[in-house]
Amino acid sequence: MTAGGDTTLGRSMAGSDTKGARGSVPAASVRQIDGVPLNDVAPPRHSGRWIALILLLVLAGQMAVAVAGNPNFHWHVFAEYLFHRNVLRGVLWTLGLTVAAMSVAVVLAIALVVMRDSDNPILRGLSWLWVWFFRGTPIYTQLLFWGLFAVLFPVLSLSIPFGPELLTIETKRVITAMTAAILGLAFNESAYLTEIFRAGFRAIDRGQTEAAQAIGIPKAKIWARILLPQAMRTIIPPTGNETIGMLKMTSLVLAIPFTLDLMFATNAIANRLYLPVPLLMVAGFWYLVITSVLMVGQHYLERHFGKGHDAGAGQRA
């Protein structure tokens, strides 16, 4: 982009800004509510914002030129493989693994938090141990073990101790690479989510539980109907973080080995072509797309659970 272009852009923008502000004065019909003419407030000028925007556009333009025109990026390869069958399959698997692992992790974490708060010291201890173990060991190591599970325990059997076996199955039928990937990711994640959820529940005033108890609501329903919906409000943003982290953590499932995810797919192509850069761009593009979709989901969840908090004082009569 040339210097001349910049100034033209800047001038035309500043011009339309002032014109807009001045032009609105005579045209404005004064808004009324219940016959009360509301104050006509001129929109504040944000010259700083416009300057920042222009600078950013210039920078972005220069970067775009530097990247787009650079032969080292092999854009034709990028375009060729962006919608390649294996890549799209990888996108679906990565998204699927993320959603499945997070769902299992959320359910586990809720159970672990309730256990942690239980009167029963055995449940409390189990919950504590679970978090300690799965947070305390590297995820990659855990995934390796999940991969070896079928080797370490070739058959799973349910039996009465020292008595007859009731049920025997081959491990590799139950713990496939996919279930190993999902459980491996989910168990690890549940430990982190438990701490997030615990913080969310702790932030709720004790009076909420007491008010519910005073009405005679049984304990399980207090968790489900009174505490969980309130905790969601504080739990969702960090859980959104974790979900996006999980999206990228799915690339570690090659430790199992599970080889259908996005990162594995693009790496395989890159190795075949000896062209890592365009395929890294392909992977990056799709990770961003999935992240954006997840963020939209988060936005709606936040709105749903913000009821009674964010809707707020504005509507107060």
Partner: protein
């Protein structure tokens, strides 16, 4: 005042309750803190018992013990002759199951100093929650009943507001409606107006006065001595975890016998 529209026949939701409460030899320890020191108190059916006393004297703790939000360390509490929280087999107590305790709690309604409305539910949903989840009343009927109760406490039009969209006085009235929706046999109030701005106290007291007229058994903790004089059948003065003096409010407030009662009243009157 909107609350003037309250009538006793308006709903079937609240005349359910006139149980007796018998408290005998109740002690409560928080660790080594001796919060209640041998409380004996009988509240007769339909009686309005008001507890006053300095801060830390154990008034809230006593209410919370009646409602089993605290477990008692010694003594017995009976509601209409039924031992609360335990079964007694020859002096040894066996704790009731959580279900049974929840069922006993339903029979007492509690109104808290800080309202404790559920912030993620509208006023109407707050009132409906107990009837739907605990009494398993069909939603449509519970909603109708909740509307009638909100009308009773003068909040007919505010059912769809969330707690943060209404004033403190209105929140406390919703909390009273929420407790009444369970058709309790005894209502317990723990300083229901002390978190309110002065100009909002009156509307809540009016609702309580109206309840008094329905002949419900009540125990109320308050710092509003004038209000206590007006509604109480039975006034209790507590200090340092014990009941120091009790009797008819008029006599007790004008001629307190115990020097500690005298000292307290001279400060607050």
């Amino acid at each position: 005042m909107t609350v003037a529209s309250l009538t006793h026949t308006a709903t079937n939701a609240s005349h359910a309750g006139s149980a007796s409460v018998e408290i005998t030899g109740v002690h409560k320890f928080f660790g080594t803190v001796h919060a209640l020191r041998g409380i004996d108190l009988t509240i007769r059916p339909g009686e309005v018992c008001v507890a006053i006393g300095p801060s830390g004297s154990g008034k809230s703790t006593l209410l919370r013990c009646i409602n089993q939000l605290e477990t008692i360390s010694a003594g017995r509490i009976h509601l209409n002759g039924e031992l609360q929280g335990y079964t007694d087999s020859g002096g040894r107590l066996h704790q009731l199951s959580p279900r049974r305790i929840a069922a006993q709690r339903r029979r007492t309604g509690m109104v808290f100093q800080r309202f404790n409305l559920f912030p993620h539910m509208t006023a109407l949903q707050n009132v409906m929650e107990g009837p739907v989840q605990v009494r398993r009343i069909p939603r449509a009927r519970a909603r109708e009943q909740a509307r009638a109760l909100l009308d009773r406490v003068g909040l007919g039009g505010l059912g769809d507001r969330y707690p943060n969209q209404i004033s403190g006085g209105q929140q406390q009235r919703v909390a009273i409606a929420r407790a009444l929706a369970m058709e309790p046999e005894v209502m317990l109030f723990d300083e229901p107006t002390s978190a309110l701005d002065p100009e909002l106290v009156g509307e809540v007291l009016d609702v309580i006065k109206d309840l008094v007229r329905t002949g419900m058994t009540m125990m109320l903790v308050t710092h509003e001595i004038g209000f206590a004089r007006e509604i109480a059948d039975h006034l209790v003065f507590m200090d340092q975890g014990a009941i120091v003096e009790e009797g008819r409010p008029r006599e007790m407030l004008s001629q307190p016998k115990n020097p500690r009662t005298q000292a307290f009243l001279s400060k607050v009157l």
